[in-house]
Symmetry: C2
Subunit: 235 residues, 2 copies
């Protein structure tokens, strides 16, 4: 039986050898929730950028630009970081360059993974299925907040690990802790996260609707996967 573990911050990815692993990157609020929503609405591909200026420059190569810094849309970009911006028919067939404070940094740090999938509550069962199909040791990488631990990504990690139990075994203490926390929270994720500082920070930006949506499981059955520096729809 293969193992599943959780890396609680992008700053800890170097402690893991990802080259033989499936890595699931998660940034619930809101990068990976946006990416999943975009693929569910027919985006062609998304190129993730850690660097803001490089992302801006991609506009001249035919990309539409998306993203945020510190939770707010970057000036001049086509789209920000709300999943509701990725639901219009206009997204179909588009090529998007995407940069965020945390999520695209985590993708960058884990890019040497054997397989790299994008996870969110929105597509959690589809991701669980893909992880089981791939059947490699699996590491769930939480994007966190500027390198620090956050609750919502950890709760997703616990929820995904729970769905893998029986076909995967827990590797280390971080996955045990994530599953414990998810058990405490699962009755009402929104209420549980009211305590979270990151959620309070985002709540000041008036995105309650985003938060509730991003915590909804199994809205979409798509799995974005990294191939040659681009996220594409996994077939």
């Amino acid at each position: 039986m293969k193992s599943v573990d959780v890396c609680l911050s992008p700053e800890l990815v170097h402690l893991y050898d990802v080259t033989d692993k499936t890595v699931v990157v998660v940034d619930i609020l809101r990068a990976t929730s946006c990416m999943v929503t975009a693929f569910a609405h027919g985006v062609a591909d998304i190129k993730p950028y850690a660097d803001l200026e490089e992302c801006k420059a991609a506009a001249s190569a035919g990309y539409e630009t998306s993203g945020e810094r510190n939770g707010e849309k970057v000036e001049g970009f086509n789209r920000g970081n709300s999943p509701f911006e990725y639901m219009a028919e206009a997204i179909r067939g588009k090529h998007i360059a995407f940069t965020t404070t945390n999520g695209t940094q985590a993708i960058d740090k884990a890019q040497k993974a054997k397989a790299l999938l994008i996870g969110a509550f929105l597509n959690i069962q589809a991701v669980a299925n893909a992880v089981q199909e791939l059947n490699h040791p699996t590491l769930i990488v939480c994007a966190g907040w500027k390198g620090r631990f956050n609750l919502e990504d950890t709760l997703f990690a616990g929820a995904l690990a729970k769905r893998l139990m029986g076909t995967f075994k827990p590797e280390d203490d971080a996955v045990l802790a994530a599953m414990e926390l998810y058990e405490n929270a699962k009755g009402n994720l929104v209420a549980f996260l009211q305590k979270s500082s990151h959620v309070q920070r985002l709540a000041r930006l008036n995105i309650h609707k985003d938060i509730e949506f991003c915590l909804t499981p199994d809205v979409y059955a798509v799995v974005p996967e990294l191939q040659n520096d681009h996220l594409i729809l996994r077939r």
Copy 2:
């Protein structure tokens, strides 16, 4: 009201400005439990070393040597990493050079703290009292296991934060998670930690007695504190 936060790994200490903070370093199994036990039995001072060779070399400067790598005593050292080795009358007045896989690394990384205290379940209320006396913003730094998250240090962090609630406020998600986990575990810490990979690793070394002792709260009322690169008894 000052804040209390938790740093879940020494590899994340650089994300925090510790210069205005009280830092409590914890390595329950077993470095900080040993240090607290040693001060309760009259050790004069302990010089922590991140580097094994430097620690060895301290013997020629009049230090007795203590420590472990990967859970096992270093060959040629006077003492290993079991708290029961630090209870004899022979410890009184001694100068000890101490190096461990995780605990002394964490002390090294947090050494610029405004005040640096050594915490363990064994002295948890004494540490809570000292943190309240100092009344700075406080960061509990978990030693973890080779940079990764571990449960026992996180449970201590949650337990200490709980004792500070009312006089300190939680800063960020990590302290909220640590308190949640401690609530789940507090009925029986030993049983809760049976799931932990690190505890299973140590159990193979036949230290069940050490583990039970290290999880016992309020055995001693001493607080070791870093002063000029040495740990001394806080007065």
